[in-house]
């Protein structure tokens, strides 16, 4: 049988995981089932019969093969199929009855923990970037008349990048915090 394959590019922010799940579910209802997720937001789908899949994303940093094996075994035993990983986001799906959904997190605390893991990682990255960035700015003071334009250019590029990246990180972190706050209100 010839299976038709299609690749889509679509951007989702890290706090839009529920939107991403809904989109994947809609694709499956139209007969396009996720096969893999790759860098640059590239989703590959295979065509088949329309199916009522529930898709769920978990943020689970790979902390050792054994931990992931135990984690994945629990999901598989509960009927979830593993589709792959992209920057620590794990893609899971489960076939459900028409009109039903399944959940990987069944209480508020554990659902919030997912975002806490994500925040932990992003905050660590932000700190590292800030330290590297301040180093870059301090070094720039050492320029004199002999400093080649090329080097000056590199530093300028670096500074402009940081001026964009750092606020973007802060923005993302704030958005995730707001999503967590929203969950606290919705759940229970």
């Amino acid at each position: 049988m010839n299976t038709e394959i299609r690749t889509h590019s679509k951007w989702f922010w890290p706090w839009q995981d529920d939107k991403e799940e809904a989109w994947l579910e809609q694709m499956s209802r139209e007969g396009w089932h996720l096969r893999s997720v790759r860098l640059l937001c590239s989703y590959t789908f295979a065509q088949g019969p329309a199916l009522p899949y529930t898709y769920r994303l978990d943020y689970f940093p790979a902390s050792g093969q054994e931990k992931f094996a135990e984690y994945a075994q629990l999901f598989r035993d509960a009927g979830w199929e593993y589709l792959g990983e992209l920057s620590n986001w794990r893609y899971w799906r489960k076939l459900v009855e028409q009109g039903e959904t399944a959940e990987i997190f069944t209480d508020r605390e554990s659902k919030l923990s997912k975002y806490r893991r994500l925040l932990g990682f992003l905050t660590l990255l932000l700190v590292i970037l800030s330290l590297l960035g301040s180093n870059l700015l301090l070094n720039a003071r050492g320029f004199d008349a002999d400093t080649p334009d090329f080097i000056r250019g590199v530093y300028t590029f670096g500074r402009v990048s940081y001026a964009v990246i750092i606020p973007l990180y802060v923005f993302i972190i704030v958005k995730i915090l707001r999503r967590m706050n929203q969950l606290k209100i919705i759940f229970e």
Binding site: R56, D58, A69, E70, Y71, Q73, L74, F75, D77, A78, W80, A102, E103, I104, F105, T106, D107, E109, S110, S113, K114
Partner: protein, 109 residues
């Protein structure tokens, strides 16, 4: 006295945690816990795999449960003496809650 008070910090247990601890009176692997909890709670509590994974990690870290073995790549857990104490404390709390409800003129299920 100190040790006793320390256990209070685990309370109140979430429903998922309470049923998970109670299920581990016998050594079980993850999926068996999910099934047992659903039955024991008469279908009122279903535990998703993400929630259970987090609960097992936390309970083991706090020494309320312990890994006792492995069966076809599935880790088996059982409740510890400390876990039993915490479970008992939660039961006492629940008993108080039930009495309070009864005092309000409502009957137990």
């Amino acid at each position: 006295m100190k040790a006793k008070d320390d256990l209070e910090r685990y309370l109140p247990l979430t429903e998922s945690t309470y049923y998970t601890l109670a299920a581990l009176a016998e050594p079980l692997h993850g999926y068996a816990i999910m099934q047992k909890v659903e039955t024991a709670s008469a279908g009122t509590v279903k535990i998703g795999p993400g929630t259970l994974y987090g609960a097992l990690q936390a309970l083991e870290k706090e020494g309320l449960i312990v890994k006792t073995g492995e069966e076809e790549r599935r880790k088996i857990y059982a409740i510890t003496a400390k876990g039993r104490q915490v479970l008992k404390k939660q039961m006492d709390r629940l008993a108080i809650m039930l009495r309070s409800g009864a005092a309000a003129g409502l009957e137990e299920a």
